[in-house]
């Protein structure tokens, strides 16, 4: 008999199994033991919570009862004490400051920038028979978020950020779920040079006029007591937007194009919907409301491939989940991968069916069974930015190209803290008969 503290689960420390096959471990455990599974990982007690209502209870519990999980330790190395990392009372006013410039109305200001960069990538694909999605899309999303945040020309710093990011993401289980460990020298070096650049940018911008970007908004934002954010706070929030804001969206786009390439009927339907609405002009942000299938493709992609595939927390006091008591000190793991691929909540769950997310159908999705951006107060502050960016890039590319699979099988996964593919995902392209420019200015 395994489990921990009366909650059923597999016996013994599961560290090796989890390190080798994280998603498989979750799937096997939930099948064998039900909605709550207790297990030990690197000497620490965990409970896998695999029920939408219970997940909601965990993710909306007061911070005095349920705090951040072990992933806060590695997370804080790049994101400091930002709203993503902070579970203290100071979180609350800061969250409002960050959320305001990222509201669904305000992020529309970045639509032109997103489209400009997406069209540049589309142009660069015109001579390519085959492309490696993740490499190209990482560069695209990093360029977009850095420009939206800092008005940066990122070429000079691109490699440093990517190096720090890749170092940060590797070695997932040991870094994120295992015992706390010191970062490598390579990570320290990459991160130090990146931090120095951000410090310089903030110092320079303190004495310059506002350029209308997110950094300008952070520098002007005032706390509830009227105080400006200090440099350290601005840096932490900026880093969070950069690190959380580019790798997630590039993976979402990678899987969206991979799925569309392998589902010709869905892709045809999407291309027809875009052509019918736009005729011979190029997609702009204002078109998205009229072509809901674009966003539905993005949302269905995030159901099958929830880039932020897990959330972790720690019970700070004894808490009740349903009829079960979770003892103070236990860590809690919530997996969007498990819930969002569960037949109980999504009929034909493994099928790529974007129509689930069209306005008339999405209400039949059970409450709390879909949480690619999290739930509760820590829900992703950048979700509107990410959804807008992903929809504009998907729409732009599908308008220009027919996407065909280079490999017939779905990508193999090697999850880190994000749902990374084991190798880059390749697709083949064929140009469509659509405009090569000359549409109206984006609005």
């Amino acid at each position: 008999m395994g489990g921990v503290a009366g909650i059923p689960g597999p016996a013994g420390d599961r560290f090796e199994e989890v390190e080798h096959d994280f998603l498989g471990f979750l799937e096997r455990s939930s099948r064998a033991y039900g909605p709550l599974v207790a297990f030990e990982l690197a000497g620490r007690p965990w409970v896998l919570v695999n029920d939408p209502e219970l997940i909601h209870d965990v993710l909306t519990a007061p911070f005095s009862e349920v705090g951040g999980g072990p992933s806060l330790v590695p997370g804080a190395r790049t994101m400091g004490h930002s709203i993503m990392m902070n579970y203290e009372p100071s979180w609350r006013p800061r969250r409002a400051l960050i959320q305001r410039p990222l509201s669904h109305r305000n992020v529309l200001h970045f639509g032109d920038l997103m489209l400009r960069r997406a069209r540049e990538l589309a142009d660069s694909w015109s001579s390519a028979a085959e492309v490696e999605l993740h490499a190209d899309l990482s560069r695209l999303t990093l360029t977009i978020v850095a420009e939206a945040l800092f008005s940066w020309d990122v070429d000079a710093v691109l490699r440093k950020i990517l190096a720090a990011s890749q170092e940060f993401h590797g070695d997932f289980v040991r870094s994120w779920l295992g015992p706390p460990r010191e970062p490598s020298d390579a990570f320290r070096a990459a991160h130090a040079s990146y931090e120095a650049l951000v410090r310089d940018i903030i110092a320079r911008r303190r004495v310059e006029t506002d350029s209308g970007d997110l950094l300008g908004m952070l520098l002007e934002a005032r706390d509830a007591d009227g105080q400006l954010l200090d440099d350290e706070a601005v840096r932490d929030e900026a880093n969070t937007l950069i690190f959380a804001g580019h790798s997630t969206t590039s993976l979402a786009l990678t899987y969206a194009f991979s799925l569309l390439s392998r589902h010709a009927m869905v892709q045809r339907e999407l291309a027809d919907a875009i052509a019918e609405q736009l005729g011979s002009r190029l997609l702009v942000a204002g078109d998205l409301e009229q072509i809901p299938l674009i966003r539905a493709v993005v949302e269905e992609t995030l159901r099958l491939y929830p880039v932020n595939h897990f959330q972790d927390r720690t019970a700070l006091v004894d808490i009740r989940l349903g009829d079960t008591t979770i003892a103070a000190g236990m860590h809690l793991l919530m997996s969007a991968w498990l819930v969002q691929r569960d037949e109980r909540y999504f009929p034909d769950a493994l099928a790529f069916r974007p129509e689930r997310f069209l306005p008339e159908q999405r209400r039949s999705i059970p409450k709390y069974a879909y949480f690619p951006f999290g739930l509760g107060p820590k829900v992703c502050a950048g979700n509107f930015f990410a959804l807008l960016e992903a929809a504009l890039v998907v729409g732009t590319m599908v308008q220009r190209y027919e996407l065909r699979p280079a490999e017939p099988e779905p990508p193999r996964l090697r999850p880190t803290n994000l749902l990374d593919p084991a190798a880059d995902v390749r697709i083949r392209l064929r140009g469509r008969r659509v405009p090569e420019g000359g549409g109206p200015s984006p609005t």
Binding site: A96, R105, N106, G376
Partner: protein
């Protein structure tokens, strides 16, 4: 979901939360605690709030991560 951009003179806004969309993120309570209270879902304490809260309400509706908040023309 669309919201009016500005209330016409003499017209009151009615606030409602679509519970089927609400993810209890609590942003509404942060932005406008006079009107919203968040438990398992967000609830509206004042469904016809005073006009001096309209700016704050617009911010709140815009910031809701699931766009569960609606502002519609109400009657006093």
């Amino acid at each position: 979901m669309s919201q009016p951009t500005a209330p016409a003179s003499g017209v009151r806004w009615r606030v409602s939360v679509d519970e089927s969309l609400c993810a209890a993120s609590g942003q509404c309570e942060i932005f406008c605690p006079e009107v919203f209270e968040v438990g398992r879902v967000s609830t509206v304490k004042l469904d016809l709030p005073p006009s001096d809260l309209y700016d704050s309400l617009q911010d709140t509706a815009d910031a809701c991560p699931t766009r569960a908040i609606s502002l519609s023309v109400g009657t006093a």
